[in-house]
């Protein structure tokens, strides 16, 4: 089992969600987040004063899925979220030791 975490531009959330569903990935968790990567936010002006806003609104998608769906999911996210500009976001993949369905204590891959 793998966990895929993707940090995205909020405006790309719907497109990514649709692409993942089309790729056959059914479960996901969406978090509203703030953060920055290398681009380090932007500046705003209020009455001549400059404010640096370094934490920008982002969304984070978390998926836990079977190993063989990894490439399909990654391609779906990249296909929907890429604009080619700075700030498109990142995808992180990690191993998951266990999954448990709370309703019936089902364990492992069948719990997904």
């Amino acid at each position: 089992m793998l966990k895929i975490e993707a940090v995205l531009q909020p405006s790309k959330l719907d497109a990514v969600k649709d692409a993942l569903l089309e790729a056959g990935i059914e479960g996901m968790t969406i978090l509203e987040a703030r953060g920055h990567g290398r681009q380090k936010g932007h500046t705003e002006f209020y009455r001549g004063r400059e404010y640096t806003v370094d934490l920008l609104p982002k969304v984070k998608i978390e998926l836990v899925l079977l190993d063989d769906l990894k490439e399909k999911a990654i391609q779906a996210i990249i296909g929907a979220a890429r604009t080619g500009r700075i700030g498109d976001g990142k995808i992180f993949v990690s191993r998951i030791d266990e999954a448990i369905r709370i309703r019936n204590d089902e364990r492992g891959e069948t719990a997904l």
């Binding site: 705003e44 002006f45 209020y46 009455r47 001549g48 004063r49 400059e50 404010y51 640096t52 806003v53």
Partner: protein
């Protein structure tokens, strides 16, 4: 002169002679008709001026603070709607508009004694004195409310309430009496130094703006200013507030004609023109200075223009009004961008930069552009401002501004010192970090999880 309307003539058969009684009845009908028209406009104007404080100013200032302080900020304006009303009824109106000396009114109208539904010919001959009283009350409300912008996000509610109540008695009432009261020192008709202030450039904006500057210096900066970011939390609220201020200002300036007269039309147009030109002036200055035209710049500019045209609104032609607005927009943006950051005071919402600076500028430009063609206040054809050739008016304007600055600085300093000793002006650092909404009122402006 009696004007016979067809309806009046119809009551009198052509054969019968017109009696004295009929003429008197007709004269009374004409007086009543004018009073009805003027009173209707003045009651609407009074409501418009109240609209400037709540919700106008409350929204404008409320949007500019951080979200933990929105209710505290709005409550400061709202508290003035309550407190100043009570003070005005007890003694404020009397101290401003009673017969007193050159500096302050007398006590004959304490508890509104003698303020009836018949006109007071000293001030407005065609409307009930109670209309005049309530119209002036709305000015007395917004003036201390304007000061709250300078000490935003850090004063105790209790100290604010006491300080601004005292301020309205000891600074506002004398200044209003000097400029508008019978026998007032600066009164344009009969004062020792006839100074032109149509709708309150010195009485409202210079006093509030200068007192704002004094207060923010006395109180000190907000914790973390200017190192920490303190951007406005809702430009949308400020935007709505500024637009309501613009609309309410028609009551403020055009209402100051005290009747539904051609002079009201002149003030209405000048008000609108100056606001438009000042929005442009600030925006251009900001575009050059910072590279972008901001929404906050545009609305701040409009307010600066409204401030600057206030003393001039019933004295100048439309094109000088445009010019006054344009200059005010550029000048106030310079005060806010450059002067505030150089001198390092924390006038949080720029009450001084807009009202103090704009009011002072407006008072001086009034002396320059006032013309007897619009308002022959010194008599038919007698030159009014410098544009008519009466350069001496500029000296009178300077005197008016100087007195407004002086009474504001001294009065505010004394009152702040006293209130600080008795109550303490500032909230504790913990309360300041927590925000005024929770620490002063036990409420939150936004609870989106409830």
């Amino acid at each position: 002169m009696v004007i016979f309307s067809p309806a009046a003539l119809a009551q009198t058969p052509a054969s019968a002679p017109v009696t004295q009684a009929q003429i008197s009845a007709l004269q009374q009908a004409v007086v009543n008709a004018q009073s009805a028209g003027d009173n209707a406009w003045m009651l609407v104007s009074a409501a418009l001026v109240l609209l400037m404080t709540g919700p106008g100013l409350a929204l404008f200032y409320g949007g500019l603070v951080r979200k933990k302080n929105i209710l505290g900020t709005m409550m400061q304006s709202f508290a003035m709607m309550g407190l100043v009303t009570i003070i005005w009824a007890i003694c404020g109106y009397s101290l401003a508009f009673g017969h007193g000396n050159a500096f302050v009114g007398g006590f004959e109208h304490l508890f509104l004694r003698g303020v009836t539904l018949t006109p007071n010919t000293d001030y407005a001959a065609t409307i009930p004195e109670q209309t005049y009283m309530v119209y002036q009350l709305m000015f007395a409300i917004i003036t201390p409310a304007l000061i709250t912008g300078a000490f935003a996000e850090r004063m105790k509610f209790s100290a604010m309430a006491v300080f601004l109540s005292l301020w309205s008695v000891f600074v506002y009432c004398p200044m209003a009496h000097m400029v508008w009261g019978v026998g007032g020192l600066l009164n344009s008709t009969g004062g020792h130094i006839p100074s032109l202030d149509f709708a309150g450039g010195t009485v409202v904006h210079v006093t509030s703006g200068v007192s704002a500057l004094v207060t923010c210096i006395f109180l000190g900066k907000r914790i973390g200013y200017p190192q920490t970011n303190m951007p406005p939390h809702s430009m949308v609220l400020s935007f709505i507030g500024a637009c309501l201020l613009w609309v309410g200002w028609f009551g403020f300036n055009a209402g100051s004609a005290l009747g539904a007269s051609p002079l009201a039309t002149s003030a209405f147009i000048n008000t609108h023109f100056a606001a438009a030109a000042a929005a442009l002036g600030w925006t251009i200055a900001e575009w050059i200075h910072n590279g972008k035209p901001t929404a906050l710049g545009a609305i701040s500019g409009a307010v600066a223009g409204l401030v600057a045209i206030t003393p001039a609104s019933g004295f100048v032609q439309p094109f000088p009004a445009l010019l006054i607005g344009l200059i005010a927009g550029a000048f106030c943006s310079f005060m806010v961008f450059e002067v505030k950051s150089r001198l390092r005071y924390d006038d949080s919402l720029d009450a001084f930069g807009v009202h103090g600076a704009g009011g002072t500028l407006g008072a001086l430009l009034t002396g320059l552009f006032a013309t007897s063609a619009i308002n022959s206040i010194y008599g038919k054809g007698v030159p009014t401002g410098a544009i008519d050739g009466h350069w001496g008016q500029e000296l009178n304007q300077l005197a008016g501004v100087g007195i407004a600055w002086s009474i504001s600085i001294v009065g505010t300093l004394v009152l702040l010192f006293v209130v600080d000793r008795v109550i303490g002006l500032r909230v504790s650092p913990e309360q300041e970090a927590e925000g005024l909404d929770l620490s002063q009122h036990g409420e939150e402006g936004y609870d989106l999880n409830s």
